[in-house]
Amino acid sequence: MQLKFSNRGSTLIVRVIGELDHHSSEQLKIKVDSEIIKSSTKNVILDLGKLTFMDSSGIGAIMGRFRNVQKLNGKLALVGIGPHIKKILDMSGILKVIDAYDNVETALNKMM
């Protein structure tokens, strides 16, 4: 798994590339959290468009970031959900609490 960070105002955009399992979730947690606590960050968009695999460890890692962002009064959204990733997100019920959008632009507009 690889992470690419970019910023749009106070929104941190994280592109998650490759496979998100327990092994890579540990890296995602550390790296994303250290960006979240930067004073310039309020909201977070996780772009899953290049995610090729995810299991329930990924669910845990996304929920964990969602809680951390909320704690700092920000919002977290998911974008670019492909069919395989959708299957496990649907199963987990995570989309009942976390917003999902087609792409980064739509997410930026709706999160304002």
Binding site: F53, D55, S56, I59, G60, H84, I88
Partner: protein, 152 residues
């Protein structure tokens, strides 16, 4: 049901081997030519079982995880075995959202994912002895008469 191929894989309880186990299972199952979705289902279930062996069974301490894959004409059975901690209450463990390690940000969805992505999930466990999870999936896309000779 006749087993047409079987592999046994042993690897240390390192989290880097979660990806390795998925590739091995996928490579083995590919002999039947299932759909990409069926393949993804198997990889996800294997990932859950192997992750559990590493983090719950061995609690991230060194140990050996054994994976046994058996291929049938249109189905696969995969056993993931650890000689770790074991499970006190299997029924509780299998409940959706139950996790003994919320501080690790576990979602408690591992067994639920295995159950919904495979056709059958059996768990045999003894506290202090270890756990054996058996995953079974029939591939609806595969015609068994096409594959009887796979593996000759």
């Amino acid at each position: 049901m006749e087993c047409i191929n079987e592999v046994k894989v042993e690897f240390p309880s390192k989290s880097a081997n979660e990806a390795f186990a998925r590739i091995v299972a996928a490579a083995f199952v590919s002999q039947l030519d299932p759909t990409l979705e069926e393949l993804a289902d198997v990889k996800t279930a294997v990932s859950e079982a192997v992750t559990n062996a590493i983090i719950h069974g061995y609690e991230n301490r060194p140990g050996i995880v054994t994976m046994i894959c058996r291929l049938y004409a249109d189905a696969v059975e995969i056993k993931v075995i650890d000689k770790g901690k074991g499970i006190e209450d299997i029924e509780l463990a299998r409940q959706p959202l139950y996790t003994s390690r919320p501080e690790m940000e576990r979602s408690g969805m591992g067994f639920t994912v295995m159950e919904s992505f495979m056709d059958r999930v059996d768990v045999v466990s003894e506290p202090g002895k270890g756990t054996e999870v058996t995953l079974f999936k029939k591939f609806k896309s595969v015609n068994p008469s096409d594959t009887q000779k796979t593996g000759d």
